[in-house]
Amino acid sequence: MKFERELLKGVAPMAVLEVLTREPMYGYQLSSILAESSGEILNLGRGSLYPLLYNLEAKGYVKAKERAADSGRKRRYYSITDRGRKQLAESRKQWAKLREGIDLLFGDTPQKPALGRGGLA
């Protein structure tokens, strides 16, 4: 399924930060794992991936360092920063709220949040 560009643009930063919480990764590795982990749904185009990474770096959410990959070749590894983790936590909250609203709008049964409201599990 081909997604609206603006829709994907909104979730891409959050998705990339989420993947980077696992371990530092270089660009190609990141895009492969992102696609794999999302069931091939979040297939970030290469033309979007690197500008996004540079933007996240500029905002201080990730930092980059060149080092040798397993193959022996030098690659630029991106890792999430504390600031990035905070931003990710905030984005996840917003996403959960947004999803709740959309599900209600569409008439779908909303997923019960992990942290229950009003004592509900």
Binding site: Y28, Q29, G45, R46, G47, P51, Y54, K59, K74, R76
Partner: protein, 253 residues
Amino acid sequence: MRGRTATTLDAPPPIPEEAAAFVARVTREMASGRQLAEEVRRESLGHFEDALEGIEGLEERAAAVQALLRDFGDENLLAALIRRGKRRCEKGTPASLLGMAMAGGVFCLAIALGANPEVFTYVSVLAWSVGLVLGPSLAAHGARAVCHALWVARALFFEVDPDSVSDFDVTVLRAMVQRGYIAAAGGLLLGLIVTLRYGYTPSIMVMTLLVPLWAGLISEGLLRPSARRVEILYGLSELAVPACGTAAKGESV
């Protein structure tokens, strides 16, 4: 150690020319400094290397490269997005401050040398307006002096009789022109520093190259407008300012 052996014995096949050319075009289009361009080049080529790993056949590699190029998209757009992202990575304040300093230097040079008679006509009108509002006061006199300093600058450069100007105007002119040259030189120098340190953009390059050229042409008299025209406008300004001042005085009484 194992990785090192793998690298030595199984050297990766070269990046297809089309991919390398694409990356070269993107980094050229970025119009950034050499260091940034090299960083992006290495990273982009690395991506192609990783994506083509394990694909041996020529046809398969060619098809994979085409798919990747489509995925990367338009090279101009990609270059613009990367440039924007990378510029934000740099602590941009020094670059923007230096850019502003350069713009200020260029402006001072324009005033000092006299770019266009029409500009100074507008400045004169502004000075008259200020004189009208403020009346015969120090501020109005200062505004008039600034206006006349510009005319005097043109008079001196374009061979209008300097005896027709007052000593005060000449003093203001000398101070202004000197500061103008210093500011312009400083601005141009800073512009060159910005260009060398942070990479160039077309606008900075145009300003850095054209301003000295234009300044040289002006001072060599190759862009000199009619001296007679300057005389006429100067004479008119001499008549108009006192008249406006008198009119303002009359109205206030």
